[in-house]
């Protein structure tokens, strides 16, 4: 068989102008991604085109998980079943205890004229894409506007806070992880109740400005404080793996470990916002009003 021909029939001169224009457009998209609505619209269109492929691409992984679960021994499954039953009993007891406490808190809040907060309704979703990149801070889930998901909804897994919905399409949505650059989450230390802000740093999370006059210890659990009306209060966010007082600064030097499996969890729960929070999110001017 003869070798394939490589003779090009037409030769074009190098389109430097087009290269310049398209490179600038790409750089502009990079700079404005997740900041401007116009760029969000471009992503929305592109993501709608690629979603069927993303869904299809996630099926072999699903199949692998399924076959792996089939291959598990009967003994392992029985042990897992016993563990889950025990967990279920423990969680049900905790839920009963919580509902009694919630009722009590609700009564106290109504006496004090405060609003009752809770998780509200939620939607279970499956991750269909997490990007083949160590540093990807976006997930695509298989539920969208059709399931009642809205921009700004909080997303959790079975361990804690994963991120926030930043874009919603009809059948899918994008989740920005809490580790994404410049994403802020109002948190409080579970042990002391001291409030602070947790920042995403691209490859991790950090508690940048935790004052040294407050108490912070290794293994402290950080929960959402509920101060921003985006994340409901009480969701586990991170565990403090190191906390030390620094000389020459007013803040702790700390390292945090997210409690949720940010790039690992396959199934997530989207916590839908309260109507007031949605209205506030859709009307940025409202924040500026006195």
């Amino acid at each position: 068989m003869p070798a394939p021909s490589l003779n090009f029939t037409k030769r074009r001169s190098a389109p430097v102008g087009k290269l310049f224009l398209l490179s600038l457009t790409s750089l502009a998209l990079l700079a404005m991604d997740q900041r401007f609505e116009g760029v969000q619209h471009v992503r929305k269109v592109a993501a709608s085109l690629t979603f069927p492929l993303q869904w299809l691409a996630s099926q072999p992984v699903e199949f692998y998980r399924y076959t792996r679960s089939l291959a598990q021994s009967q003994t392992a499954l029985q042990a897992q079943n016993r563990q889950l039953s025990a967990d279920n009993i423990r969680l049900q007891a905790a839920a009963h205890q919580n509902s009694a406490l919630e009722k009590e808190v609700g009564e106290l809040k109504s006496v004090l004229g405060l609003k009752q907060e809770g998780f509200g309704t939620s939607v279970a979703a499956e991750v269909v894409s997490n990007g083949r990149n160590f540093t990807s801070n976006l997930l695509v889930i298989d539920k969208g506007a059709e399931s009642g998901i809205r921009q700004g909804d909080a997303v959790i897994d079975h361990n804690g806070l994963v991120g926030q919905i930043i874009q919603v399409r009809r059948l899918s949505a994008d989740v920005r992880l809490i580790s994404a650059n410049d994403l802020m989450v109002p948190v409080s230390v579970a042990r002391t109740g001291v409030r602070s802000l947790m920042y995403g740093e691209g490859n991790g999370i950090a508690l940048r400005y935790f004052p040294q006059d407050a108490d912070l210890q290794k293994n402290d659990l950080l929960l959402t404080s509920g101060m921003d009306s985006v994340y409901p209060a009480g969701i586990p966010v991170a565990r403090v793996t190191e906390a030390a007082k620094n000389t020459g600064t007013a803040y702790y030097r700390s390292t945090l470990q997210p409690v949720a499996g940010l790039n690992v969890s396959k199934y997530l729960l989207v916590l839908q916002q309260k109507q007031a929070a949605v209205e506030a999110a859709s009307d940025p001017a409202a924040f500026a009003r006195p």
Partner: protein, 165 residues
């Protein structure tokens, strides 16, 4: 004639299937820490088309294809678009087209193109997220080059098969 006819029309369905399968393979949500070696199929297919049909696939196509890869792999929008545009421009230079005529040179060209592609992605990531990409991500270049002769032969056969009838 069993050559790849560069002057005729490309068969649309096999071409769209090629794009779809390349994107599909890149979209499989495998954990990056254990599948870092998976070759970038979209970039390889685009390299093939630029090599075999430079008069049809140009910078604008590279930009659009890159945007689709960005959207599907949850990368920042414009990242793959920029790397594909630059790679296409470099490969469409007359000197590059003259040079890439033997299988060995094509393999070297692909290595350089994929390394260039990965370097741009890493550079943009370093600027955007203030962090460096793990060096093992460059292993995908090696697997891509090893797979290239097979992919090249397969795509040549696949894309011309229906046109020979």
């Amino acid at each position: 004639m069993n050559d790849f006819n560069l002057t005729g029309r490309l068969p649309l369905i096999p071409l769209l299937t090629t794009f779809a399968v390349a994107l599909l393979l890149d979209f499989i949500p495998l954990p990056a820490d254990s599948f870092f070696w998976m070759p970038p199929f979209s970039a390889m297919v685009w390299f093939f088309l630029i090599l075999r049909r430079p008069q049809t696939f140009g910078l604008f196509g590279a930009f659009l294809f890159g945007l689709l890869v960005d959207a599907g792999t949850t990368s920042p929008l414009g990242q793959h678009a920029l790397s594909f545009v630059l790679m296409t421009f470099a490969l469409q230079l007359p000197q590059a087209q003259d040079w890439l005529k033997t299988p060995l040179r094509q393999a070297i060209g692909l290595t350089m193109a994929l390394l260039f592609n990965q370097a741009i992605l890493s550079f943009l990531n370093a600027i955007r997220n203030q962090q460096f990409t793990h060096p093992e991500m460059f292993a995908s270049v090696l697997t891509g080059v090893l797979l290239w002769p097979l992919l090249d032969r397969f795509l040549l056969t696949f894309l011309q098969a229906r046109r020979i009838k």
